[in-house]
Symmetry: C2
Subunit: 333 residues, 2 copies
DNA sequence: CTGTTAGCGCTTTCAA
DNA sequence: TTGAAAGCGCTAACAG
């Protein structure tokens, strides 16, 4: 039924061990032998059984991607990045949603590792910061890499973007367009990125000699509704901001929605800026100024770390990229 | 190192075969024996190796979900549904993106099956209609189920929603609100759902005794841009439609965006209706009337078919659900 | 109801 | 540079 290594060895006229050597790209195989084996593999259309390789060997050619995130766009970007790198490495990706609030989080992750023999694990936010998950992984001594962890970047391999610099750049961009009253909507308090972005916003104002006004900074929860609510508060002020910078794309979309409802012309009456993991914001309203979050690239890099590339770096800080989607209008003096 | 079935058998004082019986919930194990084994399993925190089970047995406890769809929302919904059912069945889901335009599509799918020994395959659109993929699957005689296939529903197990009835219901809903000039935006010509929805629209008009006006029907491609373009054409007419019904949510979002740009008040000046796989449309503009597409449920049902539940049904037609998100205003007479 | 024996398809180890 | 033998951790097919 199934084509096995034995069939290949028979056709190629070598031992199964030699076929194994070729499949694993080992040295010490004569060129001509290798070619014969490769021909047989192609002829029989042989794909080795992962189960057998896993059982006999020390690798499973599989890694797990663990997440508990309900943003489809985010998950998609993460999966894409991990998947692309896995593909390049000839490894399979096991996508594993979990519930970080679950009592048995550690057990679930442990069971996954035992059952599948995965060679490594990628953690995406917020599983990156679930202590039970981290403890279980460390107890087992399995390789793992965290993507955009909220805390303790240094304790393990992790990748993340330079959030402070990104927010600084965006704020400076708005300042350069003439804005002086720039509203800011904070991110979810649980996420370390929120602090970083807030810090970057403030640092840019400082550098430009603009006073930091606490009234122009409103709380948010990284979702559409809190973006709308924050916009409402900001736009009710006597001294309206001329620009609003939201800490993520969902909130920026909320700001846009509120602005439209109020009959404001964006970007004539109000510039709206945000981060962008996705094409969500662009979809909602094109004239939005966004900083592209390199989620996919982060995931790609994280997976590379798992495979031992870039061994030197304990963690990597990836650059951000300022993308002005459409020109925001300069504020009239 | 690893806890194996042997360790469990030693602790429980039985043979490994008995442990195997308990793990597989076979009959013919004395209750007390079963309990002893279960206690040992719990004590040692034993999770059987999938690789070993796969190699020795006839099942792999894994299925593959194959897709080539670039809508994050859609993929997410599909994954969620498949995943939920897999979890209930104690089976792992292998998410496998592919490129249906690839030369080696069949080979890739074949390789996946050989490597992983998956017990079955779920196909999501548009892989559901890639002849090479279907041929490969049939050649191997592996179980597979298609979700919302574009064509040939009957040739294999498949699940899909009742698109014609959904479109009929939505159209009737608009008619009941007093609308007589209802614009319709067609879906992508490659998708069978497009025809179905068009048919449902027309059938409802017929029943209400409203003439079908070809001018009120514009082509679309299931994306934001084509929705905007179609809206532009429809709203330039001398006899503007009072409502526009788009064949999917992305296009409905495009209609809304264009309406806003034109300063139209939705739903005062124009009712906008669409299908909704996602919360995208709601996000863009809440006062949208939508029919909820049961994507997640379809995926869940498809996976059930794969596991042999509902054996009788070759294919299943799932109901749709009309969800009026916010009241559309009645048209003044 | 329970146990014994023989593999599944590979890699590892060791020898040639 | 190649091959033979011994498992990896389970389940299938039998015996009892």
């Amino acid at each position: 039924m199934r084509v096995t290594i034995k069939d290949v060895s028979r056709v190629a006229g070598v031992s199964i061990k030699t076929v194994s050597r070729v499949m694993n790209k080992e040295k010490y195989v004569r060129d001509e032998t290798r070619r014969r084996v490769e021909a047989a593999v192609a002829q029989l259309n042989f794909s080795p059984s992962l189960a057998a390789r896993t059982l006999a060997g020390s690798r499973s050619f599989q890694i797990a991607l663990i997440y508990d995130n309900h943003s489809p766009y985010y998950i998609h970007a993460i999966q894409e990045g991990v998947w692309a790198r896995c593909r390049a490495e000839g490894v399979r990706m096991l996508a594993q949603p979990v519930d970080i609030a679950s009592e048995n989080l550690a057990q679930e992750i442990g069971g996954l590792i035992d059952e599948t023999h995965v060679d490594g694990v990628i953690l995406s936010s917020p599983v990156t910061d679930a202590p039970e998950a981290l403890a279980e992984l460390e107890r087992r001594g399995i390789r793992f890499v965290r993507i955009s962890p909220g805390t303790n970047h240094a304790i393990t391999s992790s990748v993340f973007m330079d959030d402070a610099q990104a927010a600084d750049d965006m704020t400076m961009h708005l300042i350069n367009e003439g804005h002086r009253r720039i509203g800011f909507i904070l991110g979810h308090p649980n996420h370390m990125a929120s602090d970083q972005r807030h810090y970057g916003y403030r640092r840019a104002l400082d550098r430009a000699g603009i006073d930091y006004e606490p009234d122009l900074v409103r709380p948010g929860l990284f979702d559409f509704a809190s973006g709308m609510a924050a916009a409402e508060e900001l736009l009710k002020r006597r001294a309206k901001p001329t620009a609003i910078f939201a800490s993520n794309d969902d909130m920026a979309a909320g700001v846009l929605s509120y602005a439209h409802r109020m009959g404001l012309d964006v970007p004539q009456d109000l510039s709206v800026a945000g981060f962008d993991d996705t094409d969500l914001a662009q979809l909602v309203w094109p004239p939005l100024t966004t900083i592209r979050q390199p989620t996919r690239d982060l995931a790609y890099a994280a997976t590379g770390l798992l495979f031992g590339q870039d061994e030197g770096a304990i963690h990597q800080r990836l650059p951000h990229e300022l993308m002005v989607r459409a020109s925001t209008t300069r504020v009239r003096p």
